[in-house]
């Protein structure tokens, strides 16, 4: 279970998060919506443990463990996965190699043996099929020259391979056409399970038609200003964020 309490965070001295309280239980899918600059991506980076994103107040605990002292790799080994809004290119490193290195790094951190090459190949083939990731794509350097859709599918492939228990999807719908959105959403839905928590960050309701959340939060100026059921997203779609932004300003 993820528990965020009174979380304040800043980047280069700029205060971005100003007191977030959020609890996500296993099996739950929470959507976080909000206008540009409200702190959505910052929240995802703070959760993943990016350097320079400093927690100034409050806490993040996952399954009872305080995350403030854990590095990004340790959080990954503990079950955290961030699907990046803009996946990073790693030139010269075949996607397949990257997947295997990541999987083995996490297994090692958990004290498990490395996966054998035949088992790994089988696993990748099985997982990549559903996401329409071709063998050719697996041979290409990770994210280098990938289209927007390919990048997001590669992110979800990593997610399904690494089997995290806490998934944070940062604007996974951005840059996707309708077909790609469907494939990616199906991939995510397949991973929904009673022991996995998800946080889906998005601007738009359309993603939530495919990935139906249990709870919707509205983030504005670094705070959660409204929490509701999935109907809240529909309301936002109709009226925009103006109500919440103004409320804050007032």
């Amino acid at each position: 279970m993820l528990e965020i309490k009174n979380l304040h965070a800043e980047v280069d001295g700029n205060k971005i998060l100003r007191g977030i309280d959020l609890t996500v239980r296993p099996g739950e899918v929470h959507a976080i919506m909000g206008p540009n600059g409200s702190g959505k991506s910052t929240l995802s980076y703070v959760l993943a443990g990016k350097d320079d994103y400093e927690i100034t107040e409050g806490s993040i605990t996952y399954n009872g463990v305080d995350w403030s002292e854990l590095g990004a790799d340790e959080r990954a080994a503990a079950g955290m996965f961030l699907a990046f809004q803009y996946p990073i290119e790693i030139p010269g490193v075949a996607t397949m190699t990257f997947l295997k290195t990541a999987l083995n790094a996490q297994r090692k951190a958990r004290g498990e043996d490395e996966i054998s090459t035949p088992d790994f190949m089988k696993l990748v083939r099985e997982k990549s099929k559903a996401l329409k990731v071709t063998p050719d794509m697996l041979k290409r350097p990770l994210n280098v020259g990938f289209s927007g859709g390919e990048k997001k599918r590669a992110e979800i492939l990593q997610m399904s391979l690494l089997e995290p228990t806490l998934c944070v999807l940062d604007e996974t719908d951005s840059g996707l056409d309708i077909d790609a959105l469907r494939i990616v959403s199906e991939g995510v839905n397949q991973l929904r399970s009673p022991d996995r928590s998800m946080i889906v960050i998005t601007h738009y309701q359309r993603l939530l038609d495919h990935i139906v959340p249990d709870v919707v939060h509205v983030l504005s100026k670094g705070k959660i200003v409204k929490t509701g059921g999935k109907e809240l997203a529909l309301e936002l779609e109709k009226n925009g964020y103006a109500d919440y932004v103004d409320e804050e300003a007032a």
Binding site: A48, K50, G71, D73, E89, I90, T101
Partner: protein, 490 residues
């Protein structure tokens, strides 16, 4: 696959120490007195039971050397070397002609085992498929102690032996080719080598023969204050092919050790030579104390038409590296290649690159250089591409990429391009980049720790070159890259 698998297993089993080859073998060795004069040159020559022509050749080199000055144009800084304070000859005792591996000092064999080349096992492996075997000529300090697979090679007509033996057994070949690529008076260090070289490898591949296995030499510097001056001469006669691997290590010492080798390659008509090096001499400690000074002259001559010479190097060691494996493209349609990975960390200084001298018609060359700098190191690529007046349709492609890790190191690229023929086409591409925080974060968010992330990104950066290495070396090289960059971040 047994030999390959064994190598992989050994590499995997290697303890990930900062410098894993930092052990000293306790074997009594025979030293020449310190300093250099004509008597020392004669002493070395006598030790090697050389004929008079060889002694005269050395003496001529020595006299030339005395008139020469140390070059200072490279971007490296080091205290002046006192050439009178070095031993120019060191031989492990009890090496009076080992007839087989059984006669080799067991401690020596143990040393090789630590290096990952179990000589004794090499011969036992004779049952495996020929293409997976590696013949090893091991040079310990200055004397070549054991040559494996000699008989097998002899059947194919290939001569692979210590150069000191070649001087005695094959004087006609040595006299014809020695110094024909790197002349006696070529440069300060090459001339010094010509005077005092103590051993090295000699390879002759007869016409039309494809050498049945990879040939390999491991060099290792053991004795204190010894310069290691090996001399390697490889001749590929018409229509032949040979692939040669060279690995280098040295034990950890506080003092700097000098290494000034000369490698000469000669490719005749339609012949091809592939020369691969993995060099991980001791680079010095974290304060920059100790380490090998590596001043090497390597040059290949594509002497006749349709010949090809390919250099691949992975340079991770040495305090100072001064090295430019080059190709003289003399024959028409000849080709030269240079693939290089040069990694500098800590206080290392590297000034390395290549020269492609286009003399013949329709000659082509290709240079792929990947420099990686970390710590407070300085890494310079220096390359020359030139086309002679008669070199019509000469082609060169150069790609020169530098990667910086941290903000205290330097990367420099110094290309010299000179064309005297209007039909020559030379291309030069260069990039300099840093491992970005975003790349690091992305890898770490997937569970890689800092060092794993750097190793992965760097291995991606050098992939074009790693692919050129024979498979056994590729695995070792990747491992080495990770080891040599340990502690470079954070």
């Amino acid at each position: 696959m047994a030999a390959v698998q064994e190598t992989i297993d050994q590499v995997k089993a290697i303890d990930v120490d900062q410098y894993k080859y930092g052990f000293v073998t306790d074997i009594e060795s025979e030293l020449a007195p310190k300093g250099l004069n004509e008597d020392i040159v004669a002493f070395i020559s006598a030790k090697k039971e050389e004929p008079e022509w060889m002694l005269n050749w050395r003496l001529e080199a020595y006299r030339r050397w005395k008139t020469m000055e140390e070059p200072t144009w490279a971007r490296v800084e080091y205290p002046k070397i006192d050439f009178e304070d070095l031993h120019y000859y060191a031989a492990p005792k009890n090496t009076e002609g080992p007839k087989s591996l059984d006669e080799v000092d067991p401690e020596l064999l143990e040393t090789y085992k630590k290096l990952g080349i179990p000589l004794a096992e090499q011969e036992i492996l004779a049952g495996v498929a020929p293409e997976n075997r590696v013949a090893v000529d091991a040079v310990f300090d200055s004397v070549s102690v054991a040559t494996t697979f000699k008989e097998e090679l002899a059947k194919a007509g290939v001569i692979f032996c210590p150069i000191s033996e070649a001087v005695r057994e094959h004087p006609e070949l040595v006299q014809k080719y020695l110094g024909s690529v790197v002349p006696v008076s070529d440069n300060f260090y090459a001339t010094l080598n010509s005077a005092v070289f103590s051993d090295g490898s000699f390879v002759y591949v007869p016409p039309g023969v494809r050498c049945p296995m990879e040939l390999s030499t491991y060099f290792r510097i053991n004795e204190k204050n010894t310069g290691q001056f090996e001399r390697t001469l490889i001749i590929a006669d018409k229509g032949s092919y040979v692939s040669y691997l060279e690995g280098c290590t040295a034990p950890q010492r506080d003092e700097n050790q000098l290494h000034a080798a000369v490698v000469e390659l000669v490719a005749l008509e339609d012949a091809e030579i592939k020369y691969s090096t993995v060099q991980n001499w001791y680079p010095g400690d974290s304060e920059g104390k100790g380490g090998i000074y590596n001043f090497v002259t390597k040059r290949g001559d594509c002497r006749e038409k349709n010949s090809k010479i390919s250099w691949t190097q992975v340079e991770t060691g040495s305090a100072i590296t001064w090295k430019y494996p080059s190709c003289i493209l003399r024959g028409d349609n000849s080709q030269g290649e240079f693939y290089s990975i040069a990694i500098s960390n800590g206080h290392q200084q590297i000034d390395s690159g290549t020269k492609m001298i286009h003399l013949g018609k329709n000659t082509a060359s290709r240079i792929i250089s990947k420099g990686i700098s970390a710590g407070v190191s300085q890494n310079t690529y220096r390359g020359q591409v030139s086309a002679h007046r008669k070199a019509s349709n000469a082609r060169n492609f150069t790609q020169c990429d530098s990667l910086l890790i941290g903000d205290k190191c330097g990367a420099h690229t110094v290309p010299y391009i000179e064309s005297k023929n209007s039909t020559a086409v030379f291309e030069h591409e260069a990039t300099t980049s840093k491992i970005s925080d975003d790349q690091m974060f992305y890898c770490q968010a997937r569970g890689l720790d800092e060092e794993e992330a750097v190793a992965l990104i760097v291995n991606g950066f050098v992939r074009d070159v790693i692919q050129q290495l024979p498979m056994e070396f590729a695995v070792e090289a990747q491992k080495l890259i990770s080891i040599s960059l340990e502690g470079s971040v954070g």
